[in-house]
């Protein structure tokens, strides 16, 4: 029954799998589309991505090579045989993927990815600048504590989109010098930053691709995220959680500048009630 050549359809399918695998591998050259890294923990995130890319790339290529090879080789007829495996053979065969995948995947989580995860969610470094970002449909409001270095009291009842967007309490002396900006975030280069995250309405997600930062903002909870910008430049702040019809438009600007320039800029900002 065995014929020398596989039917055209088998060759085509095998070729398809080979081309698919090759193109997929090539396509991951899109790794160069990862935005430039501008935060301290960013390279840890990228390292995790690259690690998984290599591991899955190898598995994917080998798997598809075998798949294509089998399709090509075993489509020429021949005599199949009925040979179920004994449980022992099955189990020993299973060891290979079980061990390989367990090790490969947990190394990614614990060894490669773990340190960056701890950096993001660990202890707040000393000397961190604390700022507040308030998400609302469909704007980012940014608050700096002002000259007294303290955030004033806010209340939802005081929020007025035009006259008091974050709901500062005028009666609190710490509030009057708080600086409130629409959609613009200024950060000092090299200094750790802690961001208090609040939402006034629905879920939003505070995402700055270049800083490898993404943190959902849950209304009713005071969220937080921390990072250290290490590269001066102008970046974009995006909302990464569907928040309504204007979600796609909920963008903001992030300016990372050398610390002295940042300090000068901050001094020039008038408090909301000044």
């Amino acid at each position: 029954m065995e014929t020398a050549r596989p039917p055209a359809s088998a060759s085509a399918l095998a070729a398809f799998f080979v081309v698919l695998a090759a193109l997929t591998a090539l396509g991951f050259a899109a790794i160069s589309w990862l935005p430039v890294v501008a935060s301290e923990h960013g390279p840890g995130v990228d390292r995790t991505i690259v690690y998984i890319l290599v591991v899955t790339g190898v598995l994917f290529l080998v798997g598809h090579a075998v798949l294509a090879g089998f399709v090509w080789r075993y489509s020429r007829g021949g005599t199949p045989e009925y040979r179920p495996l004994s449980p022992k053979v099955e189990w020993s065969w299973a060891l290979l993927p079980v061990l390989a995948l367990t090790v490969a995947s947990e190394v990614g989580v614990l060894v490669i990815g773990g340190p960056a995860w701890s950096q993001i969610y660990g202890e707040t470094p000393a000397g961190a600048l604390e700022i507040e970002v308030v998400g609302k449909q469909f704007e980012w409001l940014v608050r700096y504590p002002g000259k007294d270095g303290r955030f004033g009291r806010t209340a939802a009842e005081l929020v007025h989109d035009v006259r008091n967007p974050v709901g500062l309490d005028k009666k609190d002396p710490a509030a009057s010098d708080d600086v409130v900006l629409r959609g613009a975030l200024h950060l000092p280069e090299g200094r750790p930053v802690v961001v208090r995250l609040r939402s006034l309405d629905v879920l939003h997600s505070f995402a700055i691709p270049e800083l490898r930062v993404k943190q959902d903002i849950v209304p009713g909870h005071l969220g937080r995220t921390q990072f250290r910008p290490v590269r001066a430049g102008s970046y974009e702040l995006a909302c990464a959680e569907l928040c309504g019809l204007g979600h796609y438009r909920m963008s903001g600007k992030v300016v990372v500048e050398p610390a002295p320039e940042f300090e000068r800029w901050l001094r020039e900002q008038a408090g909301w009630f000044e």
Binding site: K136, Q137, F138, E139, L141, D161, V162, R163, P165, L181, R182, G183, A184, G244, L245, G246, R249, M250, S251, G252, K253
Partner: protein, 271 residues
């Protein structure tokens, strides 16, 4: 053409009903503010059926006056339009908050003055022209206006960017839709009298406008000099109210006879 849910639904449902072999069960598509209606009927403040039709051209009575602000005029806060660079430049970077605008003589702009009570037994012809709200350089124009209940409101976006028009109302149906730059004008209607309905753009938090929806044509918005004028009224007893977005509202009772124009002054206080 921009596809909206309301226009999308019909073919989708049609397709499905067809496929389910259930032809002929088409539902009526509800399009909010689909077209102008000819009366503000159906609400508590609307004139009763069989009300006399008043032709304002015959009116001889009138109310006019001034809206003033006592106390120091608050400084207008600059608006940070940086996130929309084109709007920012259009205002030369100096756009100002419009919520309190005081004229040099101490009178107040953008106060909405209307006849709150006294016209229930009359009905009035509906203007055929729509009221217009325009979004230009990230500001609503006009900031305050009055419309008739049931009058078509035409909403235009003169900017190249997205605005969404989110109407907040208590008595009327609220609406919320996006108008990306270059969109065709949209029309909506407030069917019931309501002072005031608010329009907001959620993309640009500084953008807000107020619309007073009234069952009759006797309303005005103060401008230079803080003056308002409600002419050509039928003679009678009225309650006239002035509303301001920051200072709230005040009402005055006034009786006007034939060929008479009464002067009414409102004074709000800045604390």
């Amino acid at each position: 053409m921009t596809i909206r849910s309301s226009t999308l639904g019909t073919p989708v449902l049609g397709l499905v009903l067809l496929a389910l072999g259930c032809g002929g069960c088409g539902g009526k598509t509800s399009v909010p503010g689909g077209g102008p209606e000819t009366s503000g009927g159906g609400s508590a403040e609307a004139p009763k059926a069989g009300a006399k039709v008043w032709d304002p051209a015959l009116g001889t009575a009138g109310v006019r006056g001034t809206v003033k602000l006592a106390g120091k005029a608050p400084k207008r806060r600059p608006i940070d339009m940086n996130r929309e660079p084109r709007c920012h430049e259009a205002h030369g970077g100096k756009a100002l908050d419009e919520s309190v605008i005081v004229n040099e003589d101490g009178t107040l702009r953008n106060a909405f003055v209307w006849v709150k009570k006294g016209l229930e037994s009359w009905s009035f012809p509906m203007p055929s022209d729509p009221a217009v709200v325009t979004q230009t350089n990230c500001v609503y124009i006009p900031h305050v206006q009055g419309v008739r209940a049931g009058q078509t409101i035409s909403i235009r976006n003169g900017d190249p960017c997205l605005h969404n028009i989110h109407a907040y109302a208590k008595r009327n149906t609220e609406f919320n839709f996006g108008q990306p730059g270059g969109s065709a004008e949209a029309t909506r209607t407030f069917d019931r009298p309501e002072v005031m309905a608010m329009l907001k753009c959620d993309v640009h938090g500084w953008m807000s406008a107020y619309i007073g929806v009234v069952a009759h044509p006797y309303f005005a918005v103060t401008a230079d000099g803080g003056r308002f004028e409600l002419p050509k009224l039928p003679p009678g007893d009225y309650t006239v109210e002035a509303w301001h977005e920051v200072y709230g509202s005040q009402a005055r009772d006034v009786r006007v006879g034939d060929r008479e124009t009464r002067e009414v002054e409102f004074q709000f206080e800045e604390k």
